[in-house]
């Protein structure tokens, strides 16, 4: 087997090899701030990609499309929900398009991989995801975490349950068998001990499980007061659907980080009635920034925003505010400003913990309504509580933030 059959083949192939993959290189242009939305538009989390992009573009549009006299260019790139693709897109956008800020990555695994590139290339990443490692063992000076810490989420949710249903004391957990689920289980144990709950059993299920009856039968047999779903997305939808057919009405179903607004529509009203759910975002949050966001979003897209859109909107909005406050679009200046900044975001009064880069923010608890109480098709639940208790410092694994 030769390298190629003829000399002509070699020359033509060499030209093809060199010339085919030419990508348009914009370079970093003066007077332009380039922000990336690196998000999945294909793969498991494809549904979230468009929603993240919507939120980011809306924030930019409402800000006038520029900051400090510089035009802001928003790049959208598909990370496919895969870490390898995510790092490739981030590196490529930084090298060829002069991207210096980015948001996105619905999956924690992708976000954490991109975080490595962010630290090395000195790009500001405003991440979202359920992994505590963003602000723990893999924290970095260039990465900020918008989503609540799993401890905050668990504490807010179980605190509501403790106050509202004081007679309910035993918990059975159903946990997704990957990092996100394990983090929630870890904090279930810690918070249950703090609030006086007793854990009577746990089952791990693989991601993408379609048959939950074997776990639910065990859970019902253990006679817990609460079934705690440490699982999310399509898995949580399927588990709730199947649990509804058990008729175990005396067992309260609680999901500390399980179902967002986008997924609640997939459940029949009788299946979701009474569910207690923790929420990173809910459209009914009553803050001036959120009212403005929901109003504009609904007008533009004829739908209520969910977690994905709200995260992108709020993160881009916060970055633009930080640039203005710093009077600079340079990444180190913006980082230093964000670390000290306190602002009115869509969730309320918000700030950043400079030691971990975790957003200090409230986490919301909602209770799903009966069909007869719904005012419109997307009026699934009422916000019944919120909590912002941060992770205890002794549990945090972020050793020290490096210098810029």
């Amino acid at each position: 087997m030769p390298i190629a059959q003829t000399r002509r083949d070699v020359l033509l192939s060499a030209v093809a090899l060199a010339a085919a993959p030419i990508l348009p290189a914009w370079g970093q242009r003066a007077g332009v701030v380039t922000m990336g939305v690196i998000t999945p538009t294909t793969g498991t989390f494809a549904y979230a990609g468009d929603l993240v992009a919507r939120g980011a573009s809306l924030a930019l549009e409402m800000h006038g499309g520029s900051v400090l006299g510089n035009a802001v260019r928003l790049l959208t790139r598909d990370d496919e929900g895969k870490p390898a693709s995510g790092v490739r897109r981030v590196q490529e956008a930084a090298t060829s398009d002069g991207m210096r800020y980015f948001i996105g990555a619905y999956s924690s695994a992708v976000g954490l991989a991109e975080s490595e590139v962010a630290q090395r290339e000195k790009l500001l990443q405003f991440a979202a995801g359920g992994s505590e490692d963003f602000t723990g063992s893999r924290c970095g000076r260039y990465t900020f975490q918008w989503s609540a810490h799993p401890y905050t989420a668990m504490r807010a949710t179980l605190e509501y349950v403790r106050k509202t249903f004081p007679q309910k004391k035993t918990i059975y957990t159903l946990t997704a068998d990957y990092v996100f689920g394990h983090a929630l289980l870890k904090y279930t144990k810690i918070v249950a001990a703090e609030l006086g709950f007793e854990l009577v059993g746990n089952d791990n299920h693989p991601s993408g499980e379609r048959q939950y009856t074997q776990y639910l039968t065990k859970a019902v047999a253990a006679r817990p007061d609460i079934l705690l779903l440490n699982t999310a997305g399509a898995d949580a939808v399927t588990a709730v659907r199947q649990f509804a057919s058990f008729g175990a009405e005396n067992i309260a179903v609680v999901g500390p980080w399980s179902l967002e607004v986008d997924q609640l529509a997939e459940l029949a009203p009788e299946m979701r009635t009474g569910l207690v759910l923790g929420q990173n975002y809910y459209p009914d949050i009553d803050t001036p920034a959120n009212r403005e966001f929901v109003g504009t979003y609904t007008k533009k897209f004829s739908a209520l925003p969910g977690y994905s859109s709200a995260y992108a909107y709020d993160a881009v909005r916060a970055l633009l505010m930080a640039m203005e406050k710093a009077n600079s679009t340079e990444v180190p200046d913006v980082i230093k400003t964000l670390e000290q900044m306190s602002w009115d975001g869509v969730l309320g009064r918000m700030s950043i913990d400079p030691k971990t880069h975790q957003l200090i923010r409230p986490y919301f608890v909602v209770r799903c309504k009966q069909a007869s109480d719904m005012r419109h098709a997307a009026d699934f639940a009422d916000i019944v509580a919120n909590g912002d208790k941060p992770q205890p410092p002794e549990l945090n694994e972020c050793k020290q933030m490096p210098a810029l």
Binding site: M1, P21, A84, E92, L112
Partner: protein
Amino acid sequence: MRSSDHNGTVLAKSIEEPVEISSVGTTARPGPLTANLIRSIGIIGAVSILPLVMPINIATEILIFGIFAMAANLLIGTAGLYSFGQAAFFGTGGYAAGYLLAHGWTSLPLALVVACGSGGLIAAAVGILSIRRLGIYFMMLTFAFNQLVYYIVYSWRSVTGGEDGLAGIRRPVLELPFVGSFSFDDNRSFYALASVLFLATMIVLVRMVNSPFGLVLAASRQNSRRTVSLGYPVPMLQLVAFVIAGAISGVAGALFAMLYRIMPIDSVHWTGSAYVVFMVVIGGQRNMLGPVIGAAVFIWLQGLFSLVWTRWPLLLGVFVIVIMASLPNGLVGFVSKLSSWTVKGRGQRQC
């Protein structure tokens, strides 16, 4: 395998596609000096130009996946073994070298030897159990072993980082006595390292497939039973090819881990095995430039299509279908056919 020349001729006469084998045999003989020189300059020139016309990380990825695809082509194009488990060896090499580099070891030769050894070792284990199975059974077994390796990586969180991938990998250093040490922290120097390994792999693999070993593999691809009947230990030689491809895939994996300083878990997923088969098929299986062109086009098209349409995998799928349906010898085969048409057209005009 020392009886090469004589047996190679016998083989060429005895198998079903004598034209192709004899043409391989012919081109195996050293050509004119200028032809070899032009070939070498063409390849080195293309490798040198690559980072000037695209982001250097993409250029480096093309070389890394070029190495990976050439190794896969040793199995697919030469031996006719459609392995759907090559990502397991790519991942094993990447994780093994990555683990060392993330835990204080910095020696480049050590990292490459470990990657090569671990990829080859796992390939030997998988190969021993699956090489005697034919066709679809071989494919399914390699696929199953790939998923086995994937779930080991997924579950062994303390070593591999599990779902979040192996982070904290540092690029190695090359210590040369009397010369000094070379660091590859800069992306350009790392590209140079990838280029050297890419060219070295190409030379080794081209020489290997032109050797008697490669001829017997090619013969077994066309008619395995007849090759066995001639007295060649086909399963043993296929196993050796499988191990060599695994070891080279391990080196590619190690380079990938060093490139982004992280070893993501999807690099060991079966889809990576499918992608490398696509690369070989797109580029063409009948020479070693084909898989490299396939890797370049595949990586480039992913980026290009993803900018055009959010549902871009559909476009990529259509492209792969078109290539498979209309260009059985891949893009390099098409270029070859095109150039022969051009020459024929000129000849006719001159008449």
